[in-house]
């Protein structure tokens, strides 16, 4: 019947004059919040586009033309197209295969498998890269294995186009998997039954029923992988910069780090290109998700739909070995490297040393500063995102209006854009917000705080939106018709029911901020290093033992937090609250 969700309607309304002034107050409050959102979240992007068009005497295309004429630009673009394109295809293929196996097959241990598949995506991509480079280093485990084999096979060089594509695919196939697996589970199995009783064979059923219904999910996941590859900085920075294979995100970084004449304008041009590509991809992704929601039932059917039969054991062995190789072995190789006395020394039990860990945790003020900075930044960001994201989510769900829509859009924008683009936009905005006035934000920790909050608030926003939507309107109405006022409603009903969802969002924000590299690489300043920046610097300077030890620490810390969250979820589920 009538879905009137506005809570405002049921409140008693005072006389007209008061009503008008209250309305005006709400307008003012709403206006101010929108203005703040605009200044912090949207304006920087406009500044970026503006700067790409500004020369010495005002508006000009000259920077575009100049950048366009250079051969290096075309090399960069070509590299980007190949690397992003091919890795997207690999991610989509791998993600689909993994999704089919987990959603439909009869293999055992699916929930642990699910976690293993997500691992390469959850761990920051530069740490994944570092792990793989250790595994494939000239004196790593793979090289040692190949030496024992007959013939003269050399280790694959990861510092190459193929290497970048490989690690990108490993990092992003979980994205495709995640989207596709839920779409596959939501396809009602009766549809298959209906096709089979109508005379379609197994293959025909797949082609005519499953494939068209799964396609929007797969395409949506593929687009996400595309966007993630476009955005990725860590992988091409660790592998491509030493091998001189620039892509857009690293080219922008190198312009800024190189600090040449016109560096900012040139970076702005590249960033505008990158940003435009990302926005177009996001638009497609949004349209697809919107479309795909029509078929879905809300019910996730996790019962198997096909069986490996007597080959199940072999299938399980193959799948688990593969997952082990892509998620555990590289991390172990990284941990081993961090325990060896010097870079290049083979890993031996009798030479294990914790020297590098001691150096990181006790010996170096820069490192402890970076850890403190990242922890502080992550905490501040998590808190701010919790407040801003949840508030916007509340309005979005319960008081939908043009206001709440534009608020959501403005916090979504900085995350939709590649991190390098956002970082650059923030530099331009805060270097001189008003001509002639430098508030000293750029060059201090404040620019990082602003950057992290603008970038990650949407993650909490989405988690909170889902949490709000899972609480049916009738849950609140039941409380209010039972006599609960505002505070009781929130304390006893809303917050307990949202806790798991909110915690999930906060966890995501915290981890994303803690190990952030892309934005920090462009915005850090001396004394304001972050964990990501420190690892990047160690790696660039060749202190591989330090970078691997630091990365291992981060992975360990993430594991502890992750397990904690899982336990919390389990406990809440036991109480009947599903996340």
């Amino acid at each position: 019947m009538f879905h009137s969700t506005g809570l405002k309607k049921e409140r008693g309304t005072p006389p007209l004059s008061f009503l008008l002034s209250a309305l005006a107050k709400r307008r003012i409050f709403g206006g101010i919040s929108l203005l703040l959102l605009f200044i912090f979240f949207v304006l920087p992007l406009l500044r970026l586009v503006e700067l790409s068009f500004s020369g010495e005497e005002g508006f000009t295309f000259s920077v575009y033309q100049e950048v366009w004429r250079e051969a290096s630009t075309w090399t960069t673009l070509w590299n980007t197209v190949i690397i992003v394109g091919v890795s997207t295809l690999f991610s989509a293929g791998g993600g689909l295969l993994a999704a089919i196996i987990v959603a439909y097959s009869d293999i055992r241990g699916k929930s642990i498998m699910h976690l293993f598949i997500l691992l390469p995506f959850v761990i920051p991509s530069y740490i994944v890269t570092l792990a793989w480079t250790q595994l494939f280093s000239s004196n790593g485990w793979v090289a040692a294995l190949l030496e024992k084999l007959p013939g003269d096979i050399a280790v694959v060089n990861l510092y190459s186009m193929g290497g970048i594509i490989f690690v990108l695919s490993i990092s992003h196939f979980p994205l495709v998997y995640l989207l596709t697996v839920s779409v596959l589970r939501r396809i009602p199995r009766e549809l298959e039954a209906a096709a089979r009783v109508s005379g379609a064979g197994k293959w025909q059923t797949f082609r005519t029923v499953y494939w068209p219904l799964a396609l929007p999910g797969l395409a949506g996941g593929g687009l996400l992988a595309f966007l993630a590859s476009l955005d990725n900085f860590g992988i091409p920075a660790f592998l491509g910069i030493p091998a001189n294979i620039p892509v857009l995100s690293t080219a922008i970084y190198q312009e800024i780090a190189g600090f040449g004449p016109q560096a900012f304008s040139r970076a702005a041009v590249l960033a505008s290109l990158l940003g435009a590509a990302a926005l177009i991809g996001t638009l497609f992704q949004w349209l697809l998700t919107k479309k795909s929601q029509n078929h879905e039932t809300s019910y996730e059917d996790t019962a198997p739909r096909f069986t490996f039969g007597k080959y199940r054991k072999y299938a399980e062995i193959i799948i688990w070995s593969f997952l082990f190789i892509i998620s555990i072995i590289p991390l172990t190789a990284m941990a081993a490297a961090s325990l060896s006395p010097a870079f290049g020394a083979p890993f031996r039990l009798d030479t294990i040393t914790f020297e590098h860990y001691r150096f990181l945790l006790a010996g170096n003020s820069q490192v402890s500063g970076a850890i403190t900075n990242s922890l502080t930044l992550a905490l501040i960001t998590t808190f701010a995102a919790l407040v801003i994201g949840t508030t916007i989510a509340y309005f979005r769900v319960y008081r939908p209006s043009a206001f709440s829509k534009s608020a959501e859009l403005s916090i979504a924008l900085p995350y939709a854009l590649p991190g390098t683009v956002l970082a650059l936009a923030l530099i331009f905005t805060w270097m001189q917000p008003v001509p002639g006035w430098n508030p000293g934000v750029y060059g201090s920790i404040w620019i990082l705080i602003i950057a992290y909050i603008t970038r990650f608030t949407i993650l909490q926003g989405r988690a909170s939106t889902t949490a709000f939507m899972q609480i049916g309107q009738s849950m609140q109405e039941a409380a209010r018709s039972s006599g609960a006022g505002f505070f009781s409603l929130w304390r006893k009903i809303m917050i307990p029911l949202m806790l798991s969802g909110l915690a999930g969002g906060a966890f995501l924000v915290f981890l994303s901020a803690l190990a952030e590299l892309t934005v920090s690489a462009l915005l850090w300043s001396s004394g304001n290093e972050t964990i990501g920046v420190m690892i990047f610097q160690f790696e660039q300077a060749g202190y591989t033992t330090h970078s691997t030890a630091f990365s291992s620490l981060i992975v360990g810390g993430m594991a502890v937090i992750g397990i904690g969250l899982l336990l919390l979820k389990k406990r809440l589920e036991k109480r009947g609250v599903t996340a």
């Binding site: 019947m1 009538f2 009137s4 309607k9 049921e10 409140r11 008693g12 309304t13 005072p14 006389p15 049916g472 009738s474 849950m475 109405e477 039941a478 409380a479 209010r480 018709s481 039972s482 006599g483 609960a484 006022g485 009781s488 006893k492 009903i493 307990p496 029911l497 809440l572 109480r575 009947g576 609250v577 599903t578």
Partner: protein, 356 residues
């Protein structure tokens, strides 16, 4: 303490969900509001609960003004209980916590902890849920959830108990059992109930009074028997008593179906609505079929036969109009048979409502 709606109108933009509703629900009364989806019945319930505010008109509960166009008492300040279609049990609370909740938040705050616990136990036993007091909602069956929802709604002895299609998510057998339960609880607690449903059988079975709604307006309000036997409008006749609407001519209290001047149907107490519209409301059980073809009778052809156990449902085509007839089990007609339709004797005499 009665609840009154005075010329209540509720609009959502251009959509008039409720138009000029006047209704009084007396203390202890069980009023069922029936109508098809979109008729405004749920809007009416939400106004009574305080989740929405009327666009015009006012609502009073007892002596207090509950809502008018400019102010409304929020739901938590009204003495109400509500049962939702989806049960709306809080997934993180045990059964007894759910039932305790209204006692902790209503004016019963003065109650001692002991008394509250006693009251919870009382309601648990009234709804037969004592054994499940420590269960979580996901450990309950549909019927048990409904009992908890019911217990939660009545525990604080509200002046007004609102029910929004409470049985529609239960299966047929459970529905019948829960009907008895609700009747028993109504009797035991003496609560004033406003019960919204699209199922006229539910309304007929339980309510003291039925309000039939369509297009945001009240079509008819009256006792179940009153509306069933003497509908005021064609909509009430078709929705509540599933009547056939037969065209013809009225001559005072005599009706000539399909303008047959030789066929006389007497209906002394018919509502003026039908005379004005030249139609006759005939319930399926009011019509009888005769096998032999009578010269001056109203003839029709059997189109469909459905055996129902206690009666047989025929679809009879008379001059292109399909009529539904519930006939005696002893008669047997086959599709294609020609039959004569007559009005039952008892229907002409009318059914005395007084002794009912």
């Amino acid at each position: 303490m009665s609840t009154r709606l005075h010329s209540v109108t509720k609009s959502f933009g251009d959509l008039h969900a409720l138009q000029n509703i006047n209704l009084e629900v007396k203390e202890g009364e069980f009023v069922a509001i029936v109508g098809p989806s979109g008729c405004g019945k749920s809007t009416l319930l939400r106004l009574l609960a305080g989740f929405d505010r009327p666009t015009h008109g006012e609502i009073t509960i007892g002596e207090t003004m509950a809502a008018n166009a400019s102010e409304a008492l929020p739901p938590e300040k009204r003495s109400i209980g509500m049962v939702f279609q989806s049960f709306a049990l809080w997934p993180h609370m045990r059964v007894q916590e759910q039932i305790m909740f209204p006692l902790q938040h209503r004016s019963s705050k003065k109650m001692s902890k002991n008394d509250k616990q006693k009251r919870v136990e009382e309601v648990l036993s009234l709804t037969g849920m004592t054994a499940f007091a420590d269960r979580m909602p996901h450990q309950l069956s549909g019927g048990q959830k409904q009992r908890v929802a019911l217990a939660r709604a009545i525990v604080a002895s509200p002046s007004l108990l609102l029910m929004d299609e409470p049985l529609s998510s239960l299966d047929a057998e459970l529905r019948s059992a829960m009907r008895q339960e609700i009747q028993r609880i109504h009797k035991h607690s003496g609560a004033t109930i406003v019960y919204v449903t699209h199922d006229q059988e539910e309304a007929l079975a339980m309510a003291d009074r039925i309000v039939v709604m369509q297009n945001g307006q009240i079509e008819q309000a009256g006792t179940p028997r009153g509306i069933y036997y003497y509908p005021a409008t064609a909509f009430a006749a078709t929705f509540v008593s599933k009547a056939n609407i037969i065209p013809g001519v009225w001559n005072h209290s005599t009706f000539h179906p399909f303008n047959r001047s030789h066929t006389f149907w007497e209906k002394p107490k018919v509502a003026p609505f039908f005379q004005k519209k030249s139609i006759f409301p005939a319930r399926p059980d009011e019509l009888i079929l005769i096998g032999e073809v009578q010269k001056d009778g109203l003839q029709g052809v059997i189109k469909n036969v459905q055996f129902q156990g206690t009666y047989i449902q025929y679809t009879v085509s008379v001059e292109e109009t399909d009529l539904t007839v519930h006939a005696d089990i002893l008669q047997n007609f086959a599709p294609g048979d020609t039959v004569t339709l007559q009005l039952k004797e008892s229907s002409i005499k009318g059914i005395g409502l007084k002794q009912a």
